[in-house]
Symmetry: C2
Subunit: 259 residues, 2 copies
DNA sequence: CGTGAGGTTGAAACCACTCAAGAAGGGTGG
DNA sequence: CCACCCTTCTTGAGTGGTTTCAACCTCACG
């Protein structure tokens, strides 16, 4: 391939650069232009693809890089003393990873790939340096962390004040939207995670997830076939997702029930 | 009072300034020195004390200020469509408030004072400007948001994978530590929040909180008298707090259920 | 001394959990 | 290509922690 002098663009490099990345608007470069973007780009290292089950970092590791998912899915879990662990989040393309490590320089959760996954690594100390000189980057970094906070708060509402059924509906609904934002179909998609992972995320037993998935399917709200999900009635899904623990009124007889 | 020329210090002003604030090391100024501290100080406005029940901001309000609690306690809640609301956090002296609004410039929760409360207000856009020129401040701001993320993750573990009893013990234990960090007694303190607030925070019914508080008291782990709590056996409290859902070695079979 | 908000306590119902067994893929090796 | 195994998922039955409903208590306050 040629280099980029004389206006000849190295397509391979462009594709790997932030400027050529389809996820740019979701990621750190949003709102960063020209030379500033080049400075950011210079920091970013892409890494060899992770295979299913490969770890990205573990709780206790020193913070060196923040990561951005380019393709695939990464699960973060808070390790518990006894093995029963809470799934904190699933990270889809365009989403950052490792932000909770900024607090004290050490990661507080384990991150592993749920399928073949590509990530970009951004050395955090260098990112901070650049952010000092690029106001747009500082702002975007703050926005991204803050957005994570908002997501966690919604997760808290789900775990604290929703039935199992509403939690699952909320999960599917929000997953659908995030996949769409990342450029995939939000109507017809493959779950990157197992039933057990979903249960861990929603604070439920795996059997409960399986049962409720079946029930939503029976009701015609979604179609499920192993890990494939098709959203048939997004409005119902959203409505079920909104039902709180004491939700006795629903538009169409979708009340609340047992498993 | 005199002004501060000639080396004569205005004690009133000093007391109100960041340099003279006992909470400095917990707050934004941590790691910020000299002239930089003065620049930060210039932004900060203290506000009239809030009385019990006074609101600081509501969901949907435009982000203008971040707030720091100086004395008292502020509760943040995620409003739900039907009135059943999740308590996201209780903010004690030295803790920041409003960070989730950075995401899109609008607050996502309601904040109200649980008792007479003093707060400092920091205009966010000006804070961002200063942070661009004061690397230490940028770093501290990021650290504080990240710490909030870590706290939320622990809250998620509590809601997802702990019995009601463990949640309550965890809550008391962590409240005790935070009060201590803020300069109060961690052994003997007054709860700023009602049983209902605690229930909202822990995803429980208020009656459950009341019952379990009574039980911990019977067992001699704590002493409770209305809103006064004394920690009698911090080790037991921590141990109970750590018990996961499948806690097979509890003094008396504590299993696990849902809402 | 009534009144009301906040808190306690009891009894019954219920949602989700646990235990347990069976089905359905996806590999692997013969 | 089929038999086999292993993991993942589904389905059933029974248990139990928490919730709900309801009554009562108890300060604080006018």
């Amino acid at each position: 391939m040629t280099d980029d002098k004389e206006g000849v663009v190295d397509l391979g490099r462009l594709r790997r650069s932030c400027a050529g990345c389809s996820l740019r608007s979701l990621c750190l470069p949003a709102g960063v232009l020209g030379d500033d973007l080049a400075r950011l780009d210079a920091l970013v290292r892409s890494r060899l693809p992770l295979e299913t089950g490969d770890g990205l970092f573990r709780s206790g590791d020193t913070l060196e890089n923040l990561f951005v998912v380019r393709a695939g899915c990464v699960r973060t879990t808070q390790p518990a003393t006894d093995g029963e662990e809470q799934v904190i989040g699933f990270h889809l393309p365009g989403e950052l990873l490792g932000l909770d490590a900024i607090s004290d320089g050490h990661h507080h959760c384990d991150a592993i790939a749920l399928e073949r996954t590509n990530v970009c690594a951004v050395p955090f100390d260098q990112l901070e340096d650049v952010a000092c000189h690029v106001p747009g980057l500082q702002h975007q970094l703050l926005r991204i962390i803050s957005r994570e906070l908002v997501q966690d708060h919604q997760h808290l509402v789900a775990l604290g004040r929703r039935t199992a059924r509403a939690r699952l509906a909320l999960f599917l609904h929000s997953l659908s939207q995030r996949l769409y934002a990342a450029g995939y179909s939000g109507e017809d998609f493959r779950l990157p995670m197992s039933r057990d992972d979903i249960a861990g995320y929603l604070g439920l037993a795996l059997e409960t997830v399986s049962r409720l998935l079946g029930r939503l399917s029976e009701e015609g709200v979604i179609a499920v076939e192993r890990r494939w999900v098709r959203v048939l009635d997004a409005a119902s899904l959203a409505s079920i997702a909104g039902e709180p623990v004491t939700g006795q009124r629903a538009p169409d007889g979708v009340g609340r029930q047992a498993n």
